[in-house]
């Protein structure tokens, strides 16, 4: 049980090391000694956070830092629980505004919210932590998750494996962009789900604008470089196309006057664009996008080469920038988990968002779906679903702790209250040129408000501005919108 003692030790480490105070101008370097020896390396995989004792605060481990996980952490009562978050990114992305960052309407940092700002206990409470790591395995029998640090190729630290014991585990790992097994998508297309995707799109777009101005390049090549193709006509694809056409009409005309007639946007969709909106709004969007110069093409992508797409009818579409936004599905890791599954391969949950057949595991957001046995449909992969589930589960867990069921395996007898019910609040999408769609009906058949145009755009902007998590970012989003309006988008390729 030597390793278990190390566990306990580690979880109880106090800041026993006095910080070295500089006492004179040239500090001797003698307090540095050589690095850890081989004996220490051997125990690396064993160390971690040990199970909490009966008198300790129970620990909620949250996997993921998206809408669901962050809303949950925000709502958790940190007097009742220690919160440990494991995620490969230390911030939440305000995804509805991500498309705006690709062309510089907004800055990247204005849509990224550090987790420590969402739940301050994470960065300061003694038993709460954020770990920059990915989860590599879940062990429900031992109430334990296996993790490995994420270092993005930096040589700071060798990959470090550790285990964390949980009292409650919340899986909020989100989903991955679907490629439908089409060859070449992963290698050549850029998704639009993370800040680094938006950064890559912005860098590539600016690169192609500059490369197309190189002397001697053929007309054909110029047109290819400046052909921006978006595959997928959902809200992300449409919003990105709208932003791109705004960028072309306002900024490219001014700042890249030499090549302004060569740049074009094509949106490829197999079915209808914005299929979740009603016919009238869809027609409006189609008209507006076409007016802004976006070419709408109905087609099915068969193959993606490095400089061209092959459609199923055999036609070839050369491109310089390819953005892929055809929808999402569960990640291979989520698929691999030995847990019950909902239709579509998500983690199956009951009406209280619990994963049945195991104790103390919950799943929320895009990675989870109601089990067939609940008789409820799998909810769409939307921010508002994830956020509502995070909020619901935080309240549920707070109630469980209050009733004395915070510890592992101790909540069986506790009443969980009302099950989770999702009420759709409506959908919004901007389509560029100060125009947006707002559909406030619960479903396509229901009655209610649905409108399109400038008023919708004002509603869209106001709604998202108030939804941005922190005051800091709300301020920055407003400042970015203001400077974009006054002096155009920033085109430094940094």
């Amino acid at each position: 049980m030597a390793w278990f003692r190390s566990f306990i030790q580690v979880s109880k480490i106090k800041s026993s090391v006095r910080p070295t105070k500089p006492t004179h101008f040239f500090t001797p370097l003698s307090h540095f000694s050589s690095a850890a020896g081989p004996a220490e390396a051997a125990v690396r995989e064993r160390w971690g956070l040990a199970p909490t004792g009966p008198d300790d605060k129970p620990r909620v481990v949250v996997l993921g830092s998206g809408w669901a996980g962050c809303r949950l952490m925000k709502g958790l009562d940190t007097k009742a629980y220690d919160v440990v978050c494991v995620s490969p990114r230390n911030h939440m992305v305000f995804t509805p505004l991500l498309a705006s960052t690709c062309v510089g309407t907004l800055e990247f940092r204005s849509v990224a919210e550090p987790i420590g700002r969402i739940q301050p206990a994470i960065s300061s409470a003694p038993g709460s932590y954020f770990f920059l790591a990915k989860c590599t395995g879940v062990d429900p029998d031992n109430h334990m998750v296996h993790c490995e640090t994420v270092t993005d190729g930096s040589n700071s630290l060798e990959p470090w494996k550790f285990k964390i014991a949980y009292d409650k585990l919340v899986v909020a790992l989100g989903a991955e962009a679907s490629t439908f097994g089409i060859h070449g998508v992963t290698d050549n297309a850029i998704f639009l789900r993370e800040v680094h995707h938006a950064q890559e799109i912005r860098r590539k777009l600016l690169l192609n604008l500059m490369l197309s101005d190189v002397p001697g390049i053929s007309e054909e090549e110029k047109r290819r470089l400046l052909h921006c193709v978006v595959v997928g006509g959902g809200p992300t694809g449409v919003e990105f196309s709208g932003e791109l056409s705004d960028f072309i009409m306002k900024d490219v005309r001014q700042r890249y006057a030499h090549v302004k007639d060569y740049i074009h946007v094509t949106l490829i969709e197999a079915n209808e664009i914005l299929s979740s909106f009603d016919d009238r709004l869809r027609q409006y969007a189609t008209k507006q996008l076409t007016k802004s110069g976006v070419r709408l093409v109905r087609g099915v992508v068969k193959d993606v080469k490095s400089h061209k797409i092959i459609l199923s009818d055999g036609s070839e579409v050369p491109y310089g920038l390819l953005v892929w936004s055809t929808g999402v599905g569960p990640s291979p890791f989520v698929r691999s988990l030995q847990l019950p599954k909902s239709p579509g391969g998500r983690i199956g949950v009951d009406e209280w968002l619990r994963v049945p057949s195991v104790q103390d595991i919950f799943a929320i957001g895009d990675c989870s779906g109601f089990l067939e046995s609940t008789g409820k449909p799998v909810l769409p992969a939307l921010a508002q679903v994830a956020e509502r589930q995070g909020k619901y589960l935080a309240e549920l867990l707070n109630g469980v702790a209050k009733a004395g069921g915070g510890q592992a395996n101790s909540s069986k007898e506790i009443a969980l209250g009302d099950p989770f019910v999702y009420r759709h609040l409506g959908s919004m999408a901007t389509i560029g040129r100060f125009k947006a769609l707002v559909d406030l009906r619960q479903s396509k058949e229901a009655k209610g408000l649905s409108l399109a145009g400038f008023t919708s755009w004002i509603i869209w902007r106001s709604a998202y501005l108030t939804r941005v998590v922190s005051w800091r970012n709300r301020f920055y989003v407003a400042v970015n919108w203001f400077t974009t309006f006054v002096s155009g988008r920033d085109i430094s390729r940094i």
Copy 2:
């Protein structure tokens, strides 16, 4: 002379291709045809901008987009000249504020100024261009430069070689960080000269802060990961150390409370810090930095390993982040140019910043230095020297054009006016904690104002705020300072 005709053709290409207007919902894709054939590939290296004719506007080609090149472009009379800039980056970096971006006091975009904002003609005038490319050779006999596109590993376009004819050539290629041939510096240390360096530092610092919180990591390793070492005690090294200690004292204490006692900054300098400032200011800086927790170590670096530095006295300094700011020297490309050289290997210029023995070539900024024959010393590699030279040369070239000497080989008989004289306006450096040094004397021996403390800090901030090139960035710098003061620095690792 077939290739020469292509030259002419290319330089006169008009926008003869009508932009395809979308006429119906589903646009046919038939107007895309296959890519350029092999015949075209064969002529690739030949195409470019041909020599201007006697009736054309003369062309100034500027190599580089730093302080010198950008100030020159800003000042050039675009009615008299077409301006062509060749540089691997499409923006100028406001270097005095770069250190502040590493810890998030300022945002990266607030210190980057797109060239098109500095000289709008570049992005819109018919004969003016910006090419994202590096210069690979200068051919003074034919008044021609050889260039190759820069694509950063993107597969957008194969490397593309082209030649540009110039009437006047201004070499403003700047300098490179010196490693003094010390092994391991390039592989393990990060310089602080470009925005991407600052981005790398910020990402690594935040990564290390998070990795050091991983459970089970040894005390030793934790201390190493959070040991930030700065080599070089010039203004850049000192300002970065000051910013870092501000970040530690304000933000790390709050946002990384678990590891706050482990993070330390060490500044290694072989001689004295801030050697260009006077004794009193230097002592003040030393006291303030020490008070802020920066360890000042006098030492000479002998070898840099991936996790530790070896000093010449044999002592080892483990580090998690290593920033190298020991000064600059000419780049290998500048050294390789077959042009006269000044002491230190820079491009040699006369008092009018002309490169003698060749026609119509000028050199300004850190890549240039007075020839020994002028009897003047090589000026220090400072932004203010570069900027003053850019301004001077713009006026000189404008005068030459007015006198009818704008074309290649036509300015021999034209009087150039007063030679360039450099008058040092003083030096400034911030040292953190609302303190700075301001030395307004022309040299260490001269009389004049020199002060340190809060007033200097106000002067420092005001001076730089007014010097930031565009109103947009001036506004953003002020907004960044404000939010940093109110809500701390952003710690999202994006």
